[in-house]
């Protein structure tokens, strides 16, 4: 470029280059970022599931079931009543299990412990398990989003 180019003109050209460069960059990055974000898959969201017949569950037991794409745990107490929780540990996402001998809900990954009401009582879990509503109808157990 010759020296006769005025500073203003140079500044304008640089500004144009930078702006269009940024715009080009954004135009390339945005679609890629949007592409990487997975779309919502229909069928993932479930509001109610049938877990089984009441008689399938012995008192003082815990059973894992599918709630859409998430695992849930159905607890049947000694007195025959039910409560259901999300089976996803509130600590780091592992799936919990019913431990009959200790009478707790237990996460094997980091030794997190919950009582049978889903309250975090020991180990790293920071909050209780999320709870579902249990409906008993026609001899069957249904679980719905609380």
């Amino acid at each position: 470029m010759s020296d006769s180019v005025s500073p203003t003109r140079r500044r304008t050209l640089i500004w144009l280059l930078r702006t269009s460069g940024t715009a080009l960059f954004a135009a390339l990055v945005y679609p890629v970022m949007a592409y990487l974000k997975p779309p919502k898959v229909t069928g993932d969201a479930v509001s109610s599931v049938r877990v089984g017949a009441i008689d399938d569950f012995t008192p003082a037991s815990g059973t894992l079931f599918r709630f859409g794409n998430r695992p849930g745990i159905l607890i049947r107490y000694e007195d025959g009543s039910f409560r259901a929780f999300s089976a996803t540990c509130t600590h780091l996402d592992c799936t919990v299990q019913f431990k009959k001998d200790a009478g707790i809900i237990w996460c094997a990954c980091h030794n997190g412990k919950y009582d049978l009401n889903g309250r975090n009582i020991d180990g790293p879990p920071p909050r209780p398990l999320d709870e579902f509503d249990v409906i008993e109808k026609g001899g069957e157990v249904f679980v719905t989003e609380a």
Binding site: L36, K37, P38, V41, D44, L64, F65, R66, N69, R70, P71, A87, H91, L92, D93, C94, T95, V96, Q97, C107, A108, C109, H110, N111, N120, G123, P124, P125, P126
Partner: protein, 351 residues
């Protein structure tokens, strides 16, 4: 033939460079071998990984089955897979030894900052290779390791949620996660790794080996020719490593385990690979709440910050930049090593 190649590739320049290259000889010379060992194991990873690709079929319904087929029907399939898994572990170990020896001998100091930065990034990428490769057999351990690992990423304040979704390809660990991890493991990471490795090795060749502070000004400092003296020792050690690898792969073949079931509870006694064990142990021991943060968030921020600062160590260590010996960074380095060893052993004992 040689003349024909020489006219086009200037081989003489390479030969004369190799002739001039020397390696310092002193009481810390043993540490010079670990970079080469890491490179050797990386080459084994590339070769065995490509071989696995010929039979592996990613996908929720096919991944586990294809590896079972590989291990039970394909000639030497068990061996190739076992070599790939064991070599990955040995590579992380060799890279860790290499990194800490470079740290403690201050080989990162001016003008080798770029070599350090690329080296640390290569190390982190090796861990990422380990993490992404672990899921590919789609077994129970891999499934929960990935749930925990991606949930840890998700616990980072503000950006964590989107990052977790980006890694998982959805809200849960699923077949979509497997596809993504496969892409990371065989395409994205190798591409980045290759570029970083090229820079790393180019810097080492251009700058030569670093001598520890003190040695470089020692008038009696000795050195040996790289070719053939040091090179032959390198090759001998590679042979020994290959033997260790063969023994491990043959006598302790890598298990396949149980196929992942997203609706089964995590199995008792589940632990991550040994190189993540210290983080696992710390996260396990942290209480549910530290200050105003959840325990895991605190832990993740702690490790994240430490790992980021580690990349920039050469720029903090002003004393070594001036060629002076200083205690502070030796103490920091030893503290990091002791911390890692302590919690690794603790994790082992408390299994």
């Amino acid at each position: 033939m040689r003349q024909w190649l020489n006219d086009r590739m200037d081989l003489d320049a390479v030969v004369s460079f190799a002739k001039k290259k020397t390696v310092p000889a002193h009481r810390h010379s043993v540490w010079y071998y670990f970079g080469g060992v890491t490179l050797f194991l990386f080459i084994i990873q590339v070769v065995s990984g490509i071989l696995l690709l010929f039979y592996y079929r990613p996908g929720e319904d096919t991944a586990f089955e294809s590896i079972r087929f590989l291990m039970s029907k394909v000639h030497f399939g068990w061996l190739i897979r076992s070599v790939h898994s064991w070599s990955a572990n040995l590579m992380v170990l060799a890279a860790a030894v290499h990194m800490f020896s470079v740290y403690l001998t201050r080989a990162y100091r001016r003008p080798r900052e770029i070599t350090w930065v690329t080296g640390v990034l290569l190390f982190y990428l090796s861990l990422a290779f380990g993490f992404s490769g672990y899921l590919l057999p789609w077994n129970e351990l891999a499934y929960f390791a990935t749930k925990v690992g991606t949930d840890i990423a998700g616990s980072v304040p503000f950006v964590g949620g989107p990052i977790m979704e980006l890694l998982r390809g959805g809200e849960q660990v699923s077949g979509a996660t497997l596809s993504r991890f496969f892409g990371f493991h065989v395409a994205l990471f190798p591409a980045i790794f290759t570029v970083l490795l090229a820079i790393h090795l180019l810097m080492v060749q251009r700058q030569g080996m670093s001598s520890p502070i003190g040695e470089e000004k020692n008038p009696k400092a000795r050195s040996i020719p790289f070719f053939p003296n040091f090179f032959l020792r390198d090759v001998l050690l590679w042979l020994i490593v290959l033997n260790i690898l063969a023994i491990l792969a043959v006598f302790f073949p890598w298990e396949l385990g149980v196929k992942a079931d997203p609706f089964a509870a995590a199995p008792a006694g589940i632990v991550p690979e040994w190189y993540f064990l210290f983080m696992f142990q710390v996260l396990k021991l942290l209480p549910a709440h530290v200050l105003f943060l959840e325990g895991e968030v605190f832990g993740v921020l702690l490790f994240g910050t430490a790992m980021t600062l580690w990349i920039f160590i050469p720029f903090f260590d002003r004393q070594s930049q001036k060629g002076q010996r200083g205690r502070l960074f030796t103490i920091i380095g030893l503290a990091v090593i002791i911390f890692i060893l302590f919690f690794t052993i603790l994790g082992w004992v408390m299994l």
